[in-house]
């Protein structure tokens, strides 16, 4: 087992563990906002680690494609989290007693005051 294989093995196992923790969080957390937290951060980290671990075994032209996939995931996960979080807030499936501060409530109040 060479050093490159060792590096790949560590990356693969750590990435799979991270994905598993994300899925456990998705199953056990109480509301949409908390589940979103579990669904984006550990998943992105896990996917990037797995891409890194398997890119070591491939030719250079394919490995560059995998780097592109990782970059794409890192860019799109925050966008998705933002959109789903906002939709969840407006749909009323966020528990307000668990929030520390609530900047959106004031803004929605002002928007409603402006339109009515």
């Amino acid at each position: 087992m060479s050093w490159l294989d060792l590096f790949s093995a560590v990356c693969l196992i750590a990435g799979a563990m991270s994905c598993l923790f994300g899925a456990i969080g998705l199953l056990t957390f109480p509301d949409v906002a908390a589940r979103l937290q579990a669904a984006t951060k550990p998943q992105t980290l896990g996917l990037v680690l797995i891409l890194l671990g398997s890119a070591v075994h491939l030719e250079l032209r394919y490995a560059s494609g995998l780097i592109l996939v990782g970059l794409f995931q890192a860019l799109t996960a925050p966008v998705l989290a933002q959109l789903v979080g906002r939709a969840a807030y407006r749909a009323g499936s966020v528990r307000h007693e668990t929030l520390d501060t609530d900047h959106l409530a004031r803004r929605i109040e002002r928007e409603r005051g402006g339109t009515l």
Partner: protein, 88 residues
């Protein structure tokens, strides 16, 4: 090295099973959207593990297309839910 690939694949399958449970239990459309996004990410990861195992990278285009489709689908579904809620 084969043992490492087997362990990785097993962990990913377990994670996929858990996200499928969340997808079936649901409690709202947004939960299902999030669970489906996680599931597709896990499929992408598992495909990459398979590519590393076979040392054959010809599925890179498939992986990229899956990542793109997951993003577009989830975003449009979330927009739809938000639009429906704001018209209430």
């Amino acid at each position: 090295m084969g043992v490492v690939f087997a362990i990785t694949f097993g962990l990913l399958c377990l994670a996929g099973l858990l996200s499928l449970v969340r997808l079936l239990l649901g409690r709202g459309t947004l939960d299902r959207i999030v669970a489906l996004d996680v599931f597709i990410t896990l499929i992408v990861a598992a495909t990459c593990v398979g590519m590393g195992l076979n040392e054959d990278g010809s599925n890179v285009a498939l992986v990229a297309a899956f990542a793109l489709l997951a993003f577009i689908g989830s975003v449009s579904a979330a927009r739809l839910v938000e639009k429906k809620e704001s018209h209430r």
